[in-house]
Symmetry: C2
Subunit: 359 residues, 2 copies
């Protein structure tokens, strides 16, 4: 699926060293130990699950630095609950770290759903929250069904135009499986792909799928360069546009944060909003029965004959889970340019450069 | 967008006569006056919003008759609340009419969300519930945000195969707008299109978009006939597959109904499940402020220059709302074959044939 090393050299580093180094960078930028741990875990997860071109791994540290120094991200932000009643709550993240605010929100959502069956906890005045599926997975790890969504900078046009008004506005949905099996984790941007992957294809000098983006004049293209000034295409055509619009309403509009073309534009005030939903399975049926029923469905899904015998059918999240297993053994691929930049960053922050290549 | 009358002749009938005739057919099949009213309103809405090829209009009456006679649908079903606690509830529809059970469920969801901010009310042992967006719109009409989803007969394959295990599993999401404006209503099957539309193209003798379906051997095709024995393609490729799987979990698996390839297969026991969610805007912010913020976003969306100046950007649901306005004046297109069948049905049930052509 991914062309990982076609022309863009990568190095493989250990999970442990990526985690320690990320924590160390974040702490030296002012994050508390807890904030650094939470955020680094997101970076490590993205590195284990995803292609480095998706830009959610170590590449993020440069942005964290820039944004923290600009005041766009505030470490140790005094986050405050604006509302907390019945099955809903609203957290003002006070420009704090997105992983941290979403983590607090999902924790609250799980607590509430245990009581009432379903809960919705939203976050305003936050930042980039990383992987939607990662936040949803917290719920699944606690035995509940989780949904996480966020708004994001405008890169998608209303269907039928090429003016970016809406974000990729990703959704994560996670469902726990019984007997310690990995949960189902659907993680999807509401665009067909992202700008990060487009730029990776550009660096590789290869063409990209025509379904990803439009040029500024509204034509489809396989040339990542021609698409860079254009817009990303929604998943499922007008359906993805509709879903992205509604996500912006459920996050930005409903919480008091920025939305549309305004969100994530000002480097000193990103003002992103997230919405986390938790559903308590036990409010509907005994968890063991749910687990048995779920596995019946999944067995049917996994037992189908694939079109290509080398590409067996997978559950949402399974590709990422397999990739993580492999990378824990072989090391995590990091763009060599990123590694170089991180060395300079360590020098600048006067901290040790901790990355260790996998053997 | 639609090729309405290319080779498939239609007649235009009045909304009023379609409503009265639908009610009359349903009552003569054993539905109560209230059940007939609710179900006929769904049929009328589908007729106003959609292409007759989508099969949710008057065409449905033949199926209702067959299913009621088979025992697959029970008019006057003694629906019963199995759970009703906190922000959730579960309704056993006892094989009753899908529109009726979903209506009851959304009513309960609205009531609960008013108290707790968000609610989820599910329905098991139900039937085809018609238009997902129609059920979501009830919430918007009551000033809340509504989500409605259902599982459905297997027509979609797990991504990478051609074995149908999952349904089109449609979602509806509706958001109220201020000042009496029509709500936003996103209504989407999780497939690119449906078998009904494919068959309409086949009757027209025209080719269909290649993105709609695969042949049994897993090839894309523009020939509706070749696709008929194949499977529908999910929206957004593997993302639509993931969303459909999760929808089946949130409906069939979690409620105790059938799921996967089993649901909607036995004409005497469809056992479909629905999930309705309501979100109370006022739990998050004053409704007038929400309305102002929403309109700012929608103004930005609607003001973008379209790629094709004759195709202005629309909000989700707007095309349907404009179509409804037009059809209220010009009459609602009904397939002539359907009209002929309905005449025979009226005779068979010994009721007057009430359809009136629009002038």
């Amino acid at each position: 699926m991914y062309n990982l090393e076609e022309g863009v050299p990568v190095e493989r580093h250990t999970e442990q060293s990526i985690r320690r180094f990320s924590e160390s960078v974040l702490e030296s930028l002012g994050a508390t130990e807890e904030e650094a741990k939470i955020t680094a875990d997101g970076i490590v997860t993205a590195s284990l699950w995803w292609h480095p071109g998706q830009g959610q791994g170590l590449e993020k540290l440069f942005r964290y630095k820039r944004r923290i120094l600009n005041g766009g991200i505030r470490p140790k932000a005094p986050m405050v609950w604006l509302r907390d009643e019945g099955s809903i709550a609203l957290l003002d993240a006070q420009k704090g770290l997105g992983y941290v605010s979403a983590n607090k929100a999902m924790e609250k959502a799980l607590y509430k759903a245990k009581d009432t069956g379903i809960s919705m906890v939203s976050v305003c005045h936050s930042n980039h929250f990383g992987i939607a599926g990662y936040h949803a997975k917290w719920a699944a790890d606690a035995g509940m069904i989780g949904i996480a969504m966020t708004n994001a900078g405008a890169e998608m046009a209303p269907w039928g135009s090429v003016i970016p008004i809406l974000g990729t506005n990703p959704w994560g949905i996670a469902v726990p499986r019984p007997n310690g099996k990995n949960p189902i984790v659907l993680d999807m941007a509401l665009t067909q792909s992202g700008k990060g992957m487009m730029r990776w294809y550009e660096r590789q000098g290869s063409s990209m799928p025509k379904s990803w983006a439009l040029t500024v004049s509204g034509r489809t293209t396989e040339d990542p360069k021609a698409a860079d000034s254009g817009v990303l295409l929604p998943m499922g055509d007008y359906k993805g546009y509709g879903l992205s619009l509604i996500t912006d309403i459920l996050t930005g509009v409903l919480t008091g944060s920025l939305f549309g073309s305004q969100v994530f534009r000002d480097d000193t005030n990103f003002d992103v909003a997230h919405t986390l939903i938790a559903i308590n399975i036990e409010s509907f049926m005994e968890k063991t029965i749910f687990g048995q029923r779920l596995e019946l469905l999944l067995t049917d899904v996994l037992n189908v004959t694939p079109i290509d015998s080398e590409l067996p059918v997978q559950l949402p999240g399974e590709a990422e889970q397999l990739r993580a297993l492999k990378r824990r053994v072989e090391g995590i691929p990091v763009d060599k340019q990123t590694v170089k930049g991180l060395r300079a960053l360590a020098d600048e922050l006067s901290i040790p450069f901790l990355l260790e290549q996998a053997k």
